[in-house]
Amino acid sequence: MPIEVINLSHSYKIGTPFEHKVLHNISLSIKDSQFVGIIGPTRSGKTTLAQHFNALHIPKQGKILIDNEDTADKKTDLVKLRHRVGYVFQNPDYQLFAPTVGEDIAFGPSHQKLPRTEIDKLVQESMHQVGLDFDTFRNRDIFALSGGQKRRAAIAGVLACRPKVLVLDDITAGLDPRGREEILNVIKDLHQNQKITILFISNSMDEVALLAERIIVIDQGMIKMDDLTRNVFARTEELRSIGLELPEATVALENLRSAGFHLPNGILSVDEAIEAIAAALREKGAHN
């Protein structure tokens, strides 16, 4: 289910003295099963852009085609579209509203006029996909969940509609390292095994470097870069000038390089960094 954005602009509070433009002439296309990272400083417009993908915003200037359907076209069934493009908010409290986990996840499919047994099956499958045990959590009070469990429940609620595309808006913010890892593994699995297209908005350069094959950099409502992950993180100066960073391992290697070590560019992960340092040390003749 490809996504096509053509010359999209967006302003808030149109026609008031507070009118301001947050997106300027955005054009991009996303192919099936891609994993795309979207990064940018706060207020760069990345969330506004992402909310166009499932028609939470409808373009007034420019166009969005989801599977060749124009979201601004009155004939487009937006409810169905939102089932195919799921949106997970940063704060799961905006998303979860039923008293228990099971009821919350059943909400989407129960509006598709499916038989009860089918709904139960979808709930069970979605919970399994995000690693929430069905029997343990089905009747669990939403308020009794931890931050990481809440986010998984929110994702399960979206998965129950069987989306082809998932838009994830900074869903690991505020999670502890294990909570992050668990959520990232869920996302990785959905991408690899279910072939779901992932649009991953994040403030963590490490997460984006780890997962995304392609990165779109947004600043001041415009696309500043749209390239393979490695190519984007090679543009250090530009990233820093708009307030972004490099992954932690990349920064560490940068520091080692300024201390006189000969190390290659383009390293993004801890494992690659260790390998590169080890190679440089051996070349220098250090014993191991």
Binding site: P41, T42, G174, G179, A249, A259, V270, A286
Partner: protein, 283 residues
């Protein structure tokens, strides 16, 4: 050095005495020393926020006691004084900011202390300068980035001239520049103004700038010490940290990996600078 904050056999239950009673803290005995910067870390739900909320009497113990500046939070009449000593900054600055203009917001606290106008102006000035946000003084808050808003929230607490500022994951929702700028200012408040800092965080690259750290799990203190002590690569410690779902700082991860590759590298590494030193010593 003085104990600025001390918890004595502190236990806390949410909904104490009801059927839904949840034990959040169990027999916590810790101290925050005057002038230090201390990190409290642990998984979501480990009890670190509950603990921090005891430091200025937002929560009071179910059993045990908490002393701030020598005064017990169990006595209602102490709370006003205690809040002058211990200020609190929350994760989301929007929960904390009350006015629409930066300097008005910073003045809000001192105004409520009933200080004379000249003193209020002086304190606002000092807070703006200390956080290096003078240029934004007349700006409406909604024009600021999240990181800048968090700096204003810190300035507002600073203007109360507390001895200690407790920050509950102040960088969790910030972009990379916001995180760096806020962390830098927090460290500077400690190093240059001598303000005691309690920093709750999940980021190990913030923990390494602290003098000491406390690791919480399931409502109790599991480890205490300097970051070097906690991140030393002993098998026992590694296993414990892993069980509690915590990371190592990036320099420690690289050092451990190189050690595994057979290089003779110090395991006492948490900063990149230390890694560089150790690598330079390899023959």
């Amino acid at each position: 050095m003085n104990k600025l904050i001390e918890t004595i056999n502190l236990s806390y239950c949410y909904k104490a005495g009801t059927k839904e009673e949840v034990k959040a803290l169990e027999d916590v005995n810790i101290a925050v020393w005057q002038g230090e910067i201390i990190a409290i870390t642990g998984q979501n739900g480990s009890g670190k926020s509950t603990l921090a909320r005891h430091f200025n009497g937002l929560l009071t113990p179910t059993t045990g006691s908490v002393l701030a500046g020598g005064m017990s939070t169990n006595l209602k009449e102490n709370i006003r004084e205690i809040r002058k000593i211990v200020g609190m900054v929350f994760q989301n600055p929007d929960n904390q900011l009350v006015s629409s203009i930066v300097e008005e917001d910073i003045a809000f606290g001192p105004e409520n202390l009933g200080l004379p106008q000249t003193e209020i102006i002086e304190r606002v000035e000092w807070a703006l300068n200390t956080l290096k946000i003078e240029e934004h003084r007349r700006e409406p808050l909604h024009n600021l980035s999240e990181g800048q808003k968090q700096q204003v929230a810190i300035a507002g607490v600073l203007a109360m001239k507390p001895d200690c500022i407790v920050l509950d994951e102040p960088t969790a929702h910030l972009d990379p520049r916001g995180r760096r700028d806020v962390l830098e200012r927090i460290v500077r408040l400690n190093r240059e103004e001598g303000i005691t800092i309690v920093l709750l965080t999940h980021f190990m690259n913030e923990v390494i700038y602290c003098d000491r750290m406390i690791v919480m799990d399931q409502g109790s203190v599991k480890m205490q010490g300097t970051p070097h002590q906690i991140f030393c690569q002993s098998e026992h410690q590694k296993e414990q940290l892993h069980k509690m779902g915590l990371d190592y700082p990036i320099a420690s991860q690289l050092a451990a990996g190189l050690k595994l590759e057979g290089f003779d590298i110090s395991t006492d590494i948490i900063h990149t600078k230390e890694l560089i030193n150790s690598l330079c010593q390899l023959k």
